[in-house]
């Protein structure tokens, strides 16, 4: 069974359709990349999958491990194993990273009928995961994303992913705002989480990230539809030629 199955997904905001029939299937172990120019609907797709209610879904179907996703609240989707690494992680003053992450992890565990982790076990888990991302222990006591650099925010997203251990991870423009060292660390973290039972969807404008997180499949999203799919070489071609050359097939059509 596929981890994610999107069929003819249509969604928009304020009566304007942004996703105009998206089809995509991700099998366990696969890494897919969605590329596309600005305004093509990449981030909308990521947000709609995570359950952001500012977008209205107007048609189509999404299944996560066979379960209808569109009926679920954002928290239920997270508990079912969907994880969105945000393009712009929000700052939450007054809530420490460890308090937040412990609450999140225990919410997911509770959902699956597992016992909550106590403080000691949680700390042990955190230390192990933070090593993966070369993060200092002081992260835990800092308020969520508050005053974090761009790189720290993105590392924090991947840390959360590592802790919550999702079935499907969606990385929304995770490379934006990262210098090359931070990019390596973040990509290394993601790669360590690749596995035979996990699906990863990388949403990105630039090919650069895909040098580090090498995808099995690359899709081009344009005007709310996937207009071309291929392997990692498609990304290299897009890098070399831009998105313009893809217009011709649509024009013929």
């Amino acid at each position: 069974m596929s981890i994610l199955e999107i069929k003819d997904l249509r969604a928009g905001i304020a009566g304007r359709e942004i996703l105009r029939g998206v089809n995509l299937t991700i099998a366990p172990g696969e890494v897919h990349a969605i590329m596309g120019p600005n305004g093509s609907g990449k981030s909308t797709l990521a947000q709609v999958l995570a359950g952001r209610d500012t977008y209205a879904v107007t048609g189509g179907e999404v299944r996560l491990n066979g379960r209808d996703l569109l009926d679920l609240s954002p928290e239920e989707r997270a508990c079912e194993g969907l994880f969105l690494a945000f393009q712009y992680p929000v700052e939450i003053p007054g809530v420490s990273t460890s308090y937040f992450l412990k609450a999140a992890l225990n919410a997911v565990r509770k959902y699956h009928g597992e016992p909550e982790l106590d403080a000691m076990d949680f700390l042990k888990l955190m230390k192990q995961k933070m090593k993966l991302l070369d993060m200092d222990a002081s992260f835990l006591s800092r308020a969520v994303n508050e005053g974090f650099s761009g790189g720290e925010k993105k590392r924090n997203e991947i840390l959360q992913m590592a802790v919550l251990d999702p079935k499907l991870a969606i990385l929304d423009e995770t490379d934006s705002g990262l210098d090359i060292d931070a990019l390596r660390i973040v990509a290394g973290g993601v790669n360590s989480l690749r596995g035979s039972d996990r699906g990863i969807l990388v949403v990105t404008h630039y090919q650069r990230l895909l040098n580090y997180i090498v995808p099995d499949y690359v899709h081009v999203l344009r005007d709310g539809q996937i207009i071309k799919s291929g392997d990692k070489n498609l990304a290299l071609e897009l890098e070399a030629r831009g998105y313009g050359w893809l217009e011709e097939p649509t024009a013929v059509h």
Binding site: P74, R77, A78, A104, A107
Partner: protein, 436 residues
């Protein structure tokens, strides 16, 4: 101040809710009471046509017939203390209840006007009403006319009082009634202490707590006042708290508002000597039709003083709040640094908040800033938390808890801080239940 009603029977009615003690006590006290009585009959209730009372309508006070509360001694057991260890003075309807109280160890002294004599009486004469003048507004006049006793807590110079001192101010009655607690706090030079005032009373009953506190802080001292207002659900609470800071004083107050239906906190601080630092904090959590009006006045009377204000409100249901921050920088008060912040989270579409700074600056080398933000919980933050698996209510509670946390973190005395945090957690659940 304007009289609210031409038919002034309520003036007499409220005057009659005090003890019949006009002929008791020393001459100066009788004179002051009589002056206050006359002032009350002239001024009456502050009307909301008065700019300083614009957002708080007291007219229902004029429409309710009040009595005096129950006999104080019999009902002391009802008082709900804070659970803090240490000295605890229990006032029932403004009167000290010795049995329910734990007096502070020496050298802190507690005295009562009704029993005072000699030097002690002279202290009362000197301090009582020196800040809280009946002419300020009708509620001061009414308190002065009607106070049943006055409590004086006195800390001599050079004493660091480690344990917090609690004043449990409890109102008791079975039909609409009014009480007039009156407290003096005098801290000598180079001393420190934390005082907690805890206001409680019966639910579902209209009653008035009209309380006045005058604090005098000596040079180099460090004083913290924490007011926990958790009056009954139908109560009207008007607190007028004054503090006079001598020189190089660090003073901090926190006003935690949970209870009451109509609440007005007047906080007036005079930075009377150079080098003082005053910090006024507030946290209000309201639901239903509660209204909390925080009205502060910082009188920068001398140079090189700092003041900080942080007032936060969490408003659910149809509740409303007001913050007015008046800052007066008198001529010559150079190098004044005054910062004022008011923040409100509106947990429902029907809740409302008004914030208004009132700056009067008569010196040229000063820094005065103010800012206010009112709005719902941040949708982006909520979504972020939910996207990590936290249920909607849990996510909201995490955000409201964080909103309240930084006010509580400012409290100096660690045990008091812990007590407040516990109270706030319970209160946040109340708001979650009632917010829609």
């Amino acid at each position: 101040m304007t009289r609210l009603m031409s038919n002034a029977s309520y003036l007499q009615n409220l005057l009659a809710t005090g003890p019949n003690s006009s002929t008791l006590g020393p001459d100066w006290l009788q004179v002051r009471r009589e002056e206050a009585r006359q002032q009350w009959l002239r001024a009456g209730l502050p009307a909301n046509t008065d700019e300083q009372w614009r957002f708080t309508d007291l007219s229902f006070l004029a429409e309710t017939s009040f009595s005096t509360g129950c006999s104080a001694a019999a009902r002391a057991a009802e008082a709900r203390p804070t659970g803090l260890d240490g000295a605890e003075l229990v006032l029932i309807n403004g009167k000290f209840n010795a049995q329910a109280s734990r007096l502070p160890p020496a050298p802190v002294r507690v005295a009562f006007l009704a029993q005072a004599s000699g030097a002690e009486l002279a202290t009362f004469e000197k301090l009582l009403g020196a800040q809280a003048r009946p002419a300020h507004h009708g509620m001061i006049a009414l308190n002065t006319a009607n106070m049943s006793d006055v409590v004086l807590v006195e800390v001599p110079g050079g004493v660091a009082v480690e344990r917090p001192l609690s004043l449990i101010v409890h109102s008791v009655g079975t039909e609409p009634f009014a009480t007039y607690p009156r407290i003096l706090l005098k801290v000598g030079d180079n001393s420190s202490m934390t005082v907690v005032l805890n206001f409680t009373g019966p639910d579902d009953l209209t009653y008035l707590t009209n309380s006045v506190l005058e604090t005098y802080v000596g040079a180099g001292s460090r004083v913290e006042l924490v007011k926990i207002q958790r009056e009954g659900t139908a109560a009207l609470h008007i607190g007028s708290d004054y503090a006079h800071l001598a020189k190089d004083v660090r003073f901090q107050s926190l006003s935690l508002n949970q209870g009451g239906l109509l609440v007005r906190n007047n906080v007036t601080v005079t930075l009377a000597g150079p080098g003082c630092e005053a910090t006024l904090n507030g946290l209000s959590m309201t639901a239903g039709r509660q209204h909390v009006d925080n009205h502060t006045m910082l009188d920068h009377a001398r140079e090189h003083c700092e003041s900080h204000e942080l007032y936060k409100s969490l408003l659910a249901g149809r509740s409303s709040g007001t913050f007015t921050g008046k800052i007066l920088v008198r001529p010559g008060s150079q190098k004044t640094d005054a910062k004022q912040t008011s923040k409100a989270v509106l947990l429902s579409g029907q809740a409302s908040m008004n914030s208004q700074p009132q700056l009067e600056i008569y010196a040229d080398d000063v820094k005065c800033t103010h800012g206010s933000t009112n709005g719902p919980l941040d949708e982006e933050q909520l979504f972020y938390l939910r996207a990590r698996g936290l249920a909607y209510n849990q996510a909201r509670a995490m955000l409201t808890g964080a909103f309240a946390a930084d006010v509580l973190a400012r409290v100096w005395q660690p045990e008091v801080r812990g007590t407040l945090e516990d109270l706030v957690v319970v209160e946040l659940h109340r708001l979650e239940r009632e917010e829609f």
